[in-house]
């Protein structure tokens, strides 16, 4: 039974969904699962991981871990890896996970496999499926060396209730201050409770057809009606027109996403955009041009004026959600 260490990311005082996804997947693969949680005042959260596969939960808790910073978190996670001696380490490929994964792997003197969407296990050996070319192709990848470090794309696996022993152990990590050269001066996070595009279950995206920053309100109304797991996205055309920040961009120069539902409004569907949404479960396209390439990839298409379709759709969604 392989020993799998799972890094459980905390954000805004809660363990992220992606952490439960990878912990329960680790257990489902037949691993002995340890989780590691790092932050300030996070000890009380640790127990939850037991319900989702963790046999043991290592807690690194202290004021020095209040804000994420690469070096202290690398040291803490590498320290826990030293205690567990895992053959496999999973992290969620969130914004933080993408920064931490290659850094902690390099500290452990191994490589890592980024943004995996599927995993198989043969003994202790993982084979991972991961997208390349923003999803235009997939590679089956194996890691040489131990531990095998992988980041897993959010939404690749469901959160499964699967009991682990759930023992919590507090770990003291004395940081090597000489290696900590960066200082986090400030952190600004939008007050919005909306999930990140890479983790959202529903994305409503606007493109050139939205025709102005002010019209994103139509998308916001629909997102609000769809509930807390929905968020806004945008095409490159909308970002380059400066109607919305680059953080919202979906596609090859933005984020690659896999929501349950992707609604593209006024997006024609350039190859770079389509590559970034291809793993969405259901794609809806609303555009006035019947020849738009997006319709060739959409499960449901509406040829029409989005300024008429979206408000009505919002109204209908509200009725359904009633």
């Amino acid at each position: 039974m392989p020993e799998i260490l799972v890094y459980a990311e905390v954000q805004k005082g809660e363990i992220k969904k992606g952490a439960f996804e990878i912990a329960s997947k680790a257990k489902a693969l037949g691993g002995q699962v340890s989780a590691c949680i790092i932050g300030k005042d996070v000890e009380g959260l640790a127990g939850q991981l037991g319900k989702f596969g963790a046999d043991k939960i290592y807690v690194v808790d202290g004021p020095e871990f209040e804000n994420y910073s690469t070096e202290p978190f690398v040291q803490a996670l590498a320290h826990v890896a030293g205690l567990v001696n895992p053959s496999i380490i999973f992290l969620s490929a969130s914004a933080q996970g993408k920064d931490l994964t290659p850094a902690v792997a390099a500290r452990l003197k191994v490589g890592s496999i980024s943004d995996c969407v599927d995993l198989t296990l043969d003994g202790d050996k993982v084979t991972a499926k991961r997208p390349m070319y923003a999803g235009k192709a997939y590679a089956m990848v194996e890691a040489n060396g131990t531990p095998q470090v992988l980041s897993i794309r959010p939404n690749s696996f469901g959160v499964e209730e699967i009991a682990g022993a759930g023992a919590v152990e507090k770990v003291d990590v004395s940081l090597d201050e000489s290696k900590i050269k960066t200082v986090v001066k400030s952190v600004e996070v939008a007050a919005s409770e909306a999930p990140d595009q890479t983790e959202a279950e529903i994305i409503v995206s606007g493109g050139r057809g939205i025709d102005g920053a002010e019209n994103f309100k139509l998308l916001e109304d629909l997102v609000r009606a769809l509930g807390p797991n929905a968020t806004i996205g945008a095409s490159r055309a909308a970002v380059d027109a400066e109607w919305i920040d680059h953080g919202y961009q979906i596609g090859q120069t933005g984020k690659t996403v896999s929501p349950n539902l992707y609604i593209a409004a006024g997006i024609s569907g350039a190859i770079q955009h389509l590559a970034g949404i291809t793993t969405s479960k259901v794609i809806v396209a609303i555009d006035k041009d019947p020849e738009a390439p997006i319709f060739s990839k959409a499960d449901y298409g509406i040829v029409g004026d989005l300024f008429e379709v979206l408000p009505k759709l919002t109204e209908e969604v509200k009725k359904i959600k009633g």
Partner: protein, 260 residues
């Protein structure tokens, strides 16, 4: 202010990706190769920082086959001064981010630098690892996904803004350091005709694995590749007007797809 920029040549993002007959890598026939778009931001930032400081030089480093020289030339055409081309058949078969970073680190060690820039990720393997490994090997701090960078007057530190989930973090970091460029960091300039002409005469040093004293041994191995299942066009929602179509769509998503 001396800067090193690690760059990579990748297929144009317009490329329709196909696989070779063995299904082990992409078919390169007919592929148009470009400088990785995120590396354009990295090169531009290095050139701007040099211009602001009024002294220093920008050196590009790449690892790739003969054709990668073109990517170096496009960086030299927009203001980089010199380039190092790690070109060795040992990397031709399979390479990975770790082996790449080991080779780059060995090449970078021989150069003068206050800052090292990389693109956020290469738009081909999309791994986003090389900069972090490079920082570890060179024992330098790394700040990823940078959208703003200001160097202090004494040139000893940088204040950088990086993208985080739902917002931004501002980080102070002593130089030298490694940075990865995100879209939005700057607006890369286009190469001018004189720039392109001058680039042809700028020095490019070729290095082999033996020159660098490193191994090309990868830490991760691509066993096979596949293409995603082709998404088929689904159902067009019909109706008398936009409102009728919207109602039909909501119904389909609720009752048929069962996702709302």
């Amino acid at each position: 202010m001396n800067a090193v920029v690690c760059v990579k040549q990748v297929p144009d993002t317009e490329t329709l990706i196909k696989l070779n007959a063995e299904g082990t890598e992409i078919a390169t026939e007919g592929v148009k190769w470009i400088l990785n778009p995120y590396d354009e931001y990295a090169v531009e930032e290095a050139v701007q920082q040099k211009e602001k400081a009024g002294d220093g030089s920008v050196t590009l480093v790449t690892l790739g086959p003969d054709r990668a020289l073109e990517a170096l030339r496009s960086g030299l055409a927009v203001g980089a001064d010199t380039a190092v081309h790690i070109n060795d058949a040992a990397f031709a078969e399979k390479t990975d981010p770790y082996a790449t970073a080991v080779a780059l680190a060995a090449a970078v060690k021989e150069l003068e630098y206050d800052m090292i820039f990389c693109g956020k990720q290469a738009m081909e393997d999309d791994a986003g690892q090389v900069a972090s490994i490079l920082g570890e090997l060179l024992e330098l701090p790394v700040v990823t996904v940078v959208v703003k960078l200001e160097v202090s007057d004494d040139k000893k530190t940088a204040i950088v803004t990086r993208e985080i989930e739902g917002g931004h973090a501002v980080i102070e970091v002593p130089l030298p350091a490694v940075f990865t460029a995100q879209k939005g960091l700057n607006n890369p300039r286009y190469a001018s005709l004189p720039g392109i002409m001058k680039a042809k005469k700028k020095p490019v040093t070729v290095k082999t694995v033996a020159d660098l004293g490193v191994s090309a041994e990868p830490m991760t191995v691509v066993k096979s590749m596949s293409l995603p299942p082709d998404r088929q066009a689904g159902k067009m929602i019909e109706g008398d007007d936009a409102a009728a179509k919207a109602i039909a769509l909501a119904k389909a998503l609720h009752e048929e797809a069962k996702i709302i």
